[in-house]
């Protein structure tokens, strides 16, 4: 039901003459991105400068971030600013809708901003150009250095108003940054805004790091690193930079994730070639064993209500996806197709499970319902894996590696995203090669 906000263009008319009323059934439409005009925000001439914020250009900068966010969804078509005929301040007061209709805009975003007394005051409006009316108007006051986040929050509000779905622009992505030749990769934890800006490196690259995951408040990250040459699950506080090893297990721990309430970490613990799923309560430090099987059980991920866990296991011979209750009871296999299934991850909406599938030497990213029905493969490639959901359950981010020569030449690892409809596959901009992405929840909730 979610894609209906595309433009419905009337064709296929069926006339049913019943009584005196003529009825027309519109049963099909054109799926085109919505043409939207994002006017630069008007900068109040009384604005002061603030540190290194480019006050005069801020209106342009914010509107281009909003535009870039919209273009990246594949659902909107931001129109070329050269065609705009109304000045930003006048359009913000009362747009001349007929002028905006002339350039085929169906929605219009206007706004203004003022920097005074070290505060950024910003307001914006979204207009329905076809209906000549305002759809939403909001104002914020914040510190001027927050201007980039304000642009993302504005994008989220407009996206929500036009699509009926929660936005995902005011978010961050954590990933493993990779540099150096293939045989001597330096891997660091890196974090960036979802649009690729503001990259920060959280570890130095002395130790290998893998599979970082956010907790629900986006403050803590759990990941795998090495401690005394053993892979161990770590916890890192992003603000303070404090790291610790999770639990006191007599062997290697890996594949960590937080529970949806953030109170527990779920992970695999391997001993004597057998790996099972465990949880650890972060407050009481109590460790609980969830699976007890002679096979390799790993990659656990909770359902958003915390009642179920999906994981992959080779207990049937080949690696497949299973679900169970969060206490480990009621284990049920849900994947039955050809090939191997791994890295299951439950959608934040609760309806779908995303996975990596390997079949015939190709790697696929796909989704299925949590009962295993409705399997859909979204993208096929030489090597790709590790899907992670956008917080609204609409997109997946994953990483893809290219084939390299004998000496590792030509090798790249990059982040990609795809819509769950299978459309709008695109590469995410990162400063270095990148793998193992994990999408945060919305920063402003």
């Amino acid at each position: 039901m979610k894609k209906i906000f595309y433009i419905l263009t009337l064709f296929l008319f069926k006339f049913n003459i019943a009584y005196s009323l003529i009825e027309v059934d519109i049963t099909r439409g054109n799926l085109d991105p919505l043409p939207i005009a994002v006017s630069p925000l008007h900068v109040d001439p009384q604005s002061n400068n603030y540190q290194d914020v480019k006050t005069k250009e801020l209106g342009e900068l914010i509107s281009s971030i909003v535009e870039k966010n919209f273009r990246s969804t594949g659902l909107f078509n931001p129109l070329n600013k050269d065609a705009f005929v109304q000045k930003p301040d006048i359009a913000h007061l009362k747009p001349r809708f007929e002028d905006w209709r002339l350039i085929t805009a169906q929605a219009l975003v206007t706004g203004k901003l003022l920097i005074k007394d070290e505060k950024l005051k910003i307001e914006f409006r979204l207009w329905d150009v076809a209906a000549n009316k305002e759809m939403i108007a909001l104002a914020f006051t914040t510190t001027p250095s927050n201007w980039r986040r304000v642009a993302h929050i504005i994008s989220d509000k407009i996206y929500e108003r036009l699509t009926g779905e929660t936005g995902y622009f005011d978010t961050r992505i954590i990933y493993v940054s990779e540099t150096g030749p293939r045989t001597q990769r330096i891997k660091k934890l890196a974090i960036m805004d979802q649009d690729g800006e503001n990259t920060k490196y959280l570890t130095l690259g002395n130790e290998l790091v893998l599979t970082p995951r956010f907790n629900p408040t986006n403050q803590l990250v759990t990941y795998l690193s090495y401690f005394r040459n053993l892979p161990r699950v770590y916890l890192l506080d992003i603000e303070t930079g404090i790291q610790e090893v999770v639990g006191n297990f007599p062997g290697m721990t890996f594949a960590p994730r937080f529970s949806p309430d953030g109170k527990k970490i779920i992970m695999s613990f391997a001993e004597d070639g057998n790996s099972d799923i465990y949880t650890m309560d972060l407050e009481s430090r109590l460790v609980e064993r969830i699976t007890e099987d002679s096979s390799i059980d790993t990659s656990p991920s909770y359902s958003p209500d915390g009642k179920y866990i999906t994981f992959n296991s080779d207990r049937s011979g080949l690696q497949q996806i299973y679900i169970m209750k969060s206490d480990g009871s009621g284990v049920k296999r849900i994947s039955f197709g050809d090939g191997l299934y791994g890295t299951p991850v439950w959608s934040p909406r609760g309806d779908l499970i995303a996975f990596t599938k390997v079949r015939g030497g190709k790697f696929y990213i796909g989704v299925m319902r949590s009962d295993g029905s409705g399997e859909r493969l979204l993208t096929e490639n030489f090597y790709q894996e590790a899907p992670s959901w956008s917080p609204n359950g609409r997109l997946l981010v994953f990483y893809r590696e290219t084939k390299s020569g004998k000496k590792g030449e030509g090798f790249t690892a990059r982040l990609w995203s795809i819509d769950i409809t299978g459309y709008n596959e695109r590469e995410l901009k990162t400063e270095t090669d990148a793998s193992d992405p994990s999408w945060s929840s919305l920063l402003s909730k």
Binding site: I4, F5, T9, L10, D25, G164
Partner: protein, 51 residues
Amino acid sequence: MNRPGQKFYKILAESALRAVRICQPLRVPQTGYEKWKDIQLNFNPTEMLKG
């Protein structure tokens, strides 16, 4: 499928109205105004989603 009050009702209704407005002006017969002055448009995206 979507009734007033359901999550996507408003979004769908607005989208349908937008489509009608964009299609204006509609070409109509020059005679028989009384017969076609009221037209009911039923939007049903079921078929659209099959693709």
